[in-house]
Symmetry: C2
Subunit: 193 residues, 2 copies
């Protein structure tokens, strides 16, 4: 015990919440449980996060920052690599990803610092698509391609994470190979049009 004061309760609560989200899902996260895990009173977390939504906002902000960094780092390798980076981020940060994509847990508009990171991630994605398309492409076309690339990456990520994809497909020898395969298909569509 007593690690609350030595280690920073805020960080401790955040880590506990992300861990719970990764194993059991965000809905299982409880103010009183994370307080218990940190060895503090049930009201202590309120001082750092305001309310339950505040915890989700903090997780989202951190998650979008990590996602933005991952996307930005991948863009020199093309859209296929970016798509792969998106999916691998989701699998490597289940707790964050699950919270980030649940708008009902906390409304990003109410947390400007979190919104900034979300925009950063989106802009990195759209920018890469428009670069591949060429700067002179129409906005509608850029929008459609952006929506398309994002859909593929996001769909595969969510289906692998919480969806029944692997269960339904039956035998998938190598998940990474599947991800690469799907990402390449998505990328080829953009180039070929």
């Amino acid at each position: 015990m007593t690690s609350a004061k030595t280690d920073g309760l805020r960080r401790q609560v955040l880590d506990a919440a992300v861990a719970i989200a990764a194993t059991s899902g965000p809905d299982v996260i409880s103010m009183r449980e994370v307080a218990r895990l940190a060895g503090v009173s049930h009201q202590a977390p309120y001082h750092h996060f305001g309310d339950r939504a505040g915890i989700f906002a903090a997780i989202s902000e951190e998650g979008f920052r990590l996602l933005a960094e991952a996307i930005e780092a991948s863009t020199t390798l093309g859209t296929a690599a970016m798509c792969e980076a998106y999916v691998h981020f989701a699998l490597a940060h289940k707790g964050h990803f699950r919270v980030m994509m649940r708008n009902d847990l906390c409304s990003l508009e109410d947390y400007p610092t979190a919104l900034i990171q979300a925009d950063r991630a989106f802009n990195a994605l759209r920018n890469e698509v428009t670069v591949i398309l060429g700067e002179d492409s129409h906005e509608d076309d850029a929008n459609a391609h952006t929506a398309y690339m994002w859909s593929v990456a996001h769909g595969l990520a969510t289906l692998l994470l919480d969806g029944p994809l692997l269960k339904k497909l039956g035998s998938v020898a190598d998940i990474n190979a599947l991800i690469t395969n799907v990402a390449r298909k998505a990328s080829s569509t953009i180039i070929h049009l």
Copy 2:
């Protein structure tokens, strides 16, 4: 009041729950609230659904049946139409779709009749993909294409429904046109490979 006995409490609770899921999300659904809406005691719904997860299972079963029918009806028109049908189903049945894709609300494996409908929907999707690919395609290839088509449709559906896609894209004149555009891209990838 008194409509509980005349109209069938089960159907009434189900409709109320789906409506709440469509407007506020599945997590807001409360046993006591749906009972209150139906004008019965807080324990009445338990007789029909066992527990809260039972309501989600019933919604999932109904949703997957509707989705399977939508996919099956679209397959004569090709993979692009199937992809569109998937997305339009999600938009037209927000309440059902949100519940269906949340494995943490109820584990489909515990509800065999719901699982049957889910399998039906998946098989219709995979079948259409393999038909387009040709019957002699390798299983790995069929798996990858199935995962790919499903990812596009599912990703676009979830991003439109609860994601920030429209907000980030800014101005999207016609959502249906965007859906058609994305679906055609996905479909063309399958044919061209």
